[in-house]
């Protein structure tokens, strides 16, 4: 069979069979096409402001490596004037992250972009290896996912960057759409399909223009790019990336959706983007105001952002891993059956709503501020007196000791009926609709098991 000619330039021999549509094109045309498609995604959605500081969440894997390379190329080509930095999270997984961080460091040098690494160890006092030693391999992805979300935001704030881009690709988004249909999670489905998710801070922006870690945008410029094309791009651009998956095991739910997506792609390659499109369209049909929060959140946009922090926090490792503990299909099935029984038989115990926590605040407000170093940002001294190990502001998540039980929270916001709305964690100040954010809850569990002497309370008043 004679070699095919590139269908675009008609000069060079075709080297690439585009996974997206079966087009046969040459390497140069493929690279140009891939880049221009990402550029269209970015410009059509007005993703960046001119001159914006943007942190690229870099794991050393193919997606973020390609993202960094494409953004750098496009920024230079189109004169977007973006101030790009690489931001990596070191989860502390020996044999996985240490190697991939080496790849990130090489990328940083190749692309001439500054690199910032934040580690779980430094932020939380726990590396993932230590967490796994403590909780075992099952369910550890919950910790990792919850910690990562905060870590990226805190890292961005340290760099004074208000926008983090991640390497989520079309396959990831499609997978998440199907997974959330299977899990019955409509709010998360609608967030997964929006290219940009901002979590408007509960705190007002600071006067000095510094970025708070509660006010960092996330976006996914590669959400319309096929995983296979990302691999091809990396190959043809000879990018240096690290391709081993995390050594801690993936769970069933995402796995099930992932298999389904791969089978769909085999039947009809376009279906990955069709799933994404369906997800986008369905997100518009998710009842907002009269949904979960029963009108308390106002318009649907507000409802969407309410759960932002926690929802994405549970996103786990994005592409390869899952997700929070209840995500294995077996556990989900058990939980649903329980719900069905409860519905049929009525609850076994009467549950009464606790009194509004905001009304039980008054005592110990001052004390708790000092103890937890979780001053509300409007106090203006946030980040000044509780640095840990000399790290810059917003780094340390204070670790709470046992006796400091009573919680304090200023009744600053309107204390209406109990409702889910975005507030801040009373311990670390991170965004949360609960009084204590997930990361602090998880940390508390971990710290309980740790010998007393090992606990250091961040900040001393």
């Amino acid at each position: 069979m004679p070699p095919h000619q590139c269908e675009i330039c008609k000069i060079t021999r075709a080297q690439v069979l585009r996974p997206k549509n079966g087009q046969r094109i040459c390497s140069a045309c493929f690279i140009a096409l891939f880049e221009s498609e990402v550029a269209v995604t970015i410009t059509s959605t007005n993703l960046f402001q001119p001159g914006e500081r943007v942190a690229i969440g870099a794991s050393g894997g193919k997606d973020s490596t390609v993202l960094a390379s494409v953004l750098k190329t496009l920024n230079d080509r189109h004169g977007w004037n973006l101030d790009l930095v690489l931001l990596s999270v070191d989860e502390g997984i020996q044999g996985y992250r240490d190697h991939s961080l080496e790849a990130v460091k090489r990328n940083s040098a190749d692309l001439d972009l500054p690199l910032k690494i934040v580690s779980y160890e430094e932020l939380y006092g726990w590396s993932m290896d230590q967490v796994v030693a403590q909780v075992g391999k099952k369910g550890n992805c919950t910790y990792c996912g919850v910690f990562r979300r905060q870590a990226l935001d805190r890292g961005a704030a340290m760099l004074n960057v208000g926008h983090v881009v991640t390497g989520h690709n079309a396959d990831d988004v499609a997978e998440t759409v199907l997974m959330n249909l299977l899990r019955g999670d409509l709010p998360r489905l609608s967030r997964a399909t929006s290219i940009i998710t901002s979590t408007p801070s509960a705190a007002p922006p600071k006067d000095d223009g510094a970025v708070s870690f509660t006010n960092v945008k996330r976006s996914k410029p590669l959400m319309y790019a096929y995983e296979k094309e990302i691999v091809l791009y990396a190959h043809h651009k000879k990018l240096d990336y690290f391709s081993t998956e995390c050594i801690y095991s993936p769970e069933a739910f995402r796995g099930s959706a992932r298999t389904l997506i791969k089978n769909l792609e085999r039947i009809r390659p376009e279906s990955i983007l069709d799933v994404v499109r369906s997800g986008v369209d369905m997100a518009k049909l998710v009842p907002g105001a009269d949904g979960k929060c029963k009108g308390a959140c106002g318009d649907s946009k507000a409802a969407g952002s309410t759960n932002a922090a926690e929802e994405e926090a549970e996103g786990g490792c994005g592409s390869s891993n899952t997700n929070s503990g209840g995500d294995s299909m077996v556990e989900m099935e058990k939980k649903l059956q329980q719900d069905e029984r409860t519905e049929a038989n009525g609850p076994e115990t009467e549950v009464t709503l606790p009194a509004n926590p905001k009304e039980t605040v008054s005592i110990g407000v001052r004390h708790s501020h000092e103890a937890y170093s979780s001053l509300p940002p409007d106090d203006g001294i946030y980040g000044q007196n509780h640095e840990k190990n000399g790290a810059s502001k917003a780094t340390a998540v204070p670790i709470r000791t046992k006796q400091e039980k009573k919680s304090g929270r200023k009744p600053t916001r309107d204390a209406a009926a109990p409702k889910q709305r975005l507030g801040q964690c009373e311990r670390c100040g991170y965004l949360s609709s609960q009084s204590v954010c997930k990361a602090c809850v998880l940390l508390e569990g971990l710290n309980k098991a740790r010998p007393r002497t090992g606990v250091e309370v961040g900040g001393g008043g």
Partner: protein, 358 residues
């Protein structure tokens, strides 16, 4: 801890509900006897028929509902349960809240379906029955031109002649198994909807089980039809024609199949057993097939997850549709937001009919 009601220890060697008979089947987690199981199944259906109670229908003014019958386990079982339901209404009040008009689409695949229809009529003689030849889809508005090229012009509008094979031939010219299955499903649905409209049926009672609806949800999502899901899987007013109802939406396929043999007399000889296709190459598998296989296995191990998918999609809200809102020429779903500008087809249909430009 005091419960709201005293918890009576149940003997698990007996039916969980009546505690007298031996259980014959386990439903979700409950071991049930035949009788309780059959009651469970018909209650699930009757509960969804609330809006068709006798008190909502004026005497002498029958509400007519269309029931598409494929002779599959689901539609035959639905016919059986509703027949019993109507009998019950007559016994209690002297009349029934609705009448059924049974429609079978004959795809000309053999004489078996005609023979089956006779048997069904014998068993449930109280209903009206109609057979629709599948060739009628070509007389639906705008369909023949969309299915070109190979259709010769003489088949157009000529409903009485030998056009039956040509519909299937036309489908066969579509480029993939997915396109064929997708178009086939859309056309059947349109045909039945059109029939119901022309025969003054106020609603259509689809026999989709939970499992089938979950399949449909994921399959339509994968075909880029997410925007039209609320009209396809929920009990909402359809954007065109009569309202759609899914009375079997809370029953799994396996429960319906079990019911069809356990009820007395069994429905087995009225049901056309679908030949389960062996897993062939992906080239000949359609997205619908893939989802069917997927949910067959999910239903086995995780029945509540199947139910959860359906419950979740049920929460999607169909946007209001104006009378003059443009609709897709093939699937008749509103185009608003789900189609490229000035297209006559929605995204899903553009994907399914390559070469047709909107």
């Amino acid at each position: 801890m005091p419960g709201r009601r005293p918890i009576v220890p149940k003997d698990d060697s007996l039916c969980r509900r009546c505690q007298t008979n031996e259980p014959t089947i386990t439903v979700r987690t409950e071991p049930l006897c035949n009788e309780c199981f059959c009651r469970y199944v018909s209650t699930k259906v009757v509960k969804r028929m609330e809006s068709f109670r006798v008190k909502y229908s004026d005497p002498g003014k029958e509400r007519v509902l269309s029931l598409p019958l494929s002779f599959g386990a689901c539609s035959t079982t639905l016919l059986h349960i509703l027949s019993e339901h109507m009998k019950g209404q007559v016994e209690r009040t002297g009349r029934s809240g609705y009448q059924l008009h049974i429609v079978h689409v004959d795809d000309g695949s053999g004489p078996t379906s005609k023979a089956l229809l006779e048997k069904v009529k014998e068993r449930f003689p109280e209903h009206t029955y109609s057979i629709l030849p599948v060739s009628e889809v070509l007389s639906l508005d705008g369909v023949s031109p969309l299915l070109q090229p190979p259709l010769s012009s003489d088949a157009n509008g000529d409903t009485s002649s030998q056009t039956e094979p040509s519909v299937l031939d036309l489908l066969a010219t579509l480029p993939s198994a997915t396109s064929r299955a997708d178009t086939h499903r859309i056309l059947l649905r349109r045909l039945i909807t059109n029939f119901a409209t022309n025969h003054n049926c106020e609603s259509i009672l689809w026999a989709h089980s939970t499992t089938r609806l979950a399949e449909l949800t994921l399959a339509e999502t994968a075909k880029g039809r997410g925007a039209s899901l609320p009209w396809l899987v929920t009990d909402t007013a359809s954007p065109s024609g009569p309202q759609n109802f899914y009375p079997m939406r809370e029953l799994l396929t396996k429960e319906i199949i079990a019911f069809s043999s356990l009820t007395s007399p069994p429905l087995d000889d009225l049901i056309l057993k679908a030949a389960t296709k062996p897993a062939v190459s992906t080239k000949n598998t359609s997205i619908d097939d893939l989802m069917r296989q997927y949910f067959e296995s999910v239903e086995r191990d995780y029945p509540s997850i199947v139910a959860n998918v359906v419950r979740t999609t049920g929460k999607l809200k169909a946007p209001g549709v104006g009378a003059e809102e443009e609709r897709c020429e093939l699937c008749e779903m509103p185009l608003g937001g789900a189609a490229p500008e000035r297209s006559r087809l929605c995204y899903g249909c553009i994907r399914t009919l390559p070469g047709v430009r909107g």
